[in-house]
């Protein structure tokens, strides 16, 4: 089973689950399976037109899926898929 690594900023939407395993053959299907299991994650990673949001990069191993056919990129049994969101923090920790 391939693994999807959930980054810590998004784990609050996956009930703190860090790794999601999937048998799906493509990135698109694997992410659909993930967000169907955790509906709160869906608006974070998928935009209104059903596409992956551009501030979340998806890598298979160390390769950006843009170079592997985008969301149709195939994933194998032993692949590790990483979701890497843009983060900007550094200073502020104030709680509004």
């Amino acid at each position: 089973m391939a693994q999807i690594i959930i980054p810590t900023p998004l784990r609050k939407y996956t009930e703190e689950q860090a790794v999601f395993t999937t048998d799906q053959p493509t990135v698109e299907l694997a992410i659909n399976e993930l967000v169907n299991k955790f509906p709160a994650l869906k608006t974070q990673v998928i935009d209104n037109s059903g596409k992956l949001r551009s501030f979340i990069k998806v890598f298979i191993g160390e390769e950006d899926i843009r170079g592997l056919g985008g969301e149709q990129a195939t994933i194998g049994d032993k692949d590790v898929v990483s979701l890497i969101p843009a983060i900007a923090g550094g200073v502020s920790v104030s709680l509004n």
């Binding site: 860090a18 551009s54 969101p85 900007a88 923090g89 550094g90 200073v91 920790v93 509004n96």
Partner: protein, 387 residues
Amino acid sequence: MEEIILSKEELSRYSRHIIIPEVGLEGQKKLKAAKVLVVGTGGLGSPLLLYLTAAGIGTIGIVDFDVVDESNLQRQVLFTVEDIGVPKVMAAKKRLQALNPHVKFEVYNEMLDSTNALQIFKNYDVVADGTDNFPTRYLVNDACYLTGIPNVYASIFRFDGQVSVFNYRDNSGELGPNYRDLYPEPPPPGLVPSCAEGGVIGVLPGIIGSLQANEVIKIITGMGDTLSGRLFAFDALGFTTRIFKVFKDKTNPLSGENPTQKTLIDYQQFCGITAEKDKQANEIKEITVEAFMRMKNEHETFQLIDVREQFEYDLVNMEGELIPLGTLLNNVNKIAQDKMVVVHCKSGARSARAIQSLQALGFKNLYNLKGGILAYIKEFEPELPLY
């Protein structure tokens, strides 16, 4: 170029560098000749500035508009209790000059924006970005591209850190990718976890900012392979490190095949910040703490939802039903549709976002508690802790 000479004191001070073959006397002279601009003197800026100063960078520019706050001291190791209330660039210069009198500091006690960035950047060889928000990230990226300066990038959030080198021209003359190649657009405001649910473990900027300082030194001395074209990601919780390839995006508006952006833009607008505030203000119904208390005292039927985090609830609460903002959409069935629902957080921002998400699902019975639990404590329960 003016010949760089290291004094007897400098030769002695930097001897542990000079005896490394990859650095040597030539490398140390390059460091002395270099001019590095550090943007932001926060969590990342602290280790960056300390190590770059200790390493003997000849000229260091420091940009920040903020003053030192007590809550900075958990991670901003550049500052001490005595610096609280002092402009950060002033406190930083004092500390760093004491660390290394051979370094020249140029301080900019101002907010970096589209009107001053190019003017400041053009005086430097390398920029190190240690800022804390998306508008400034894109501003630093674009200004580096437009002035032809490498951008040593690092970013942190809670337990996650990222490091890369953007806009770096290698020995063969080829220009590497920039931040827009990695992330073409910023997240819409309110969508990714912001400072409101954020925070950062204090050691993380120490780790990530030190890696950033190392990349600056590598670029200047020319030793090793920089992180240009690669993104380093660190998860301090799982202690995992990963490196991903970053390649150029043909549609990049700055550096792609058909560039459309030739100058700096309005980065607040680009990140949707102004529009979001207006939209939020127009759509959300509010209730004051006074009105809330009247309603409570008169035993009117309503549901009170607290969207803060568990640790905040444990610190102080109004006996509301705790549904942290991040778990809200997984718990929609717990929110009443047949009676008034008052939503609160610490001061009103997160509860406004919660209401927006729920209204998008069709809820029409939601009210934001104005000023949050802080307003409630100040008005009605002054003995409870403010945080």
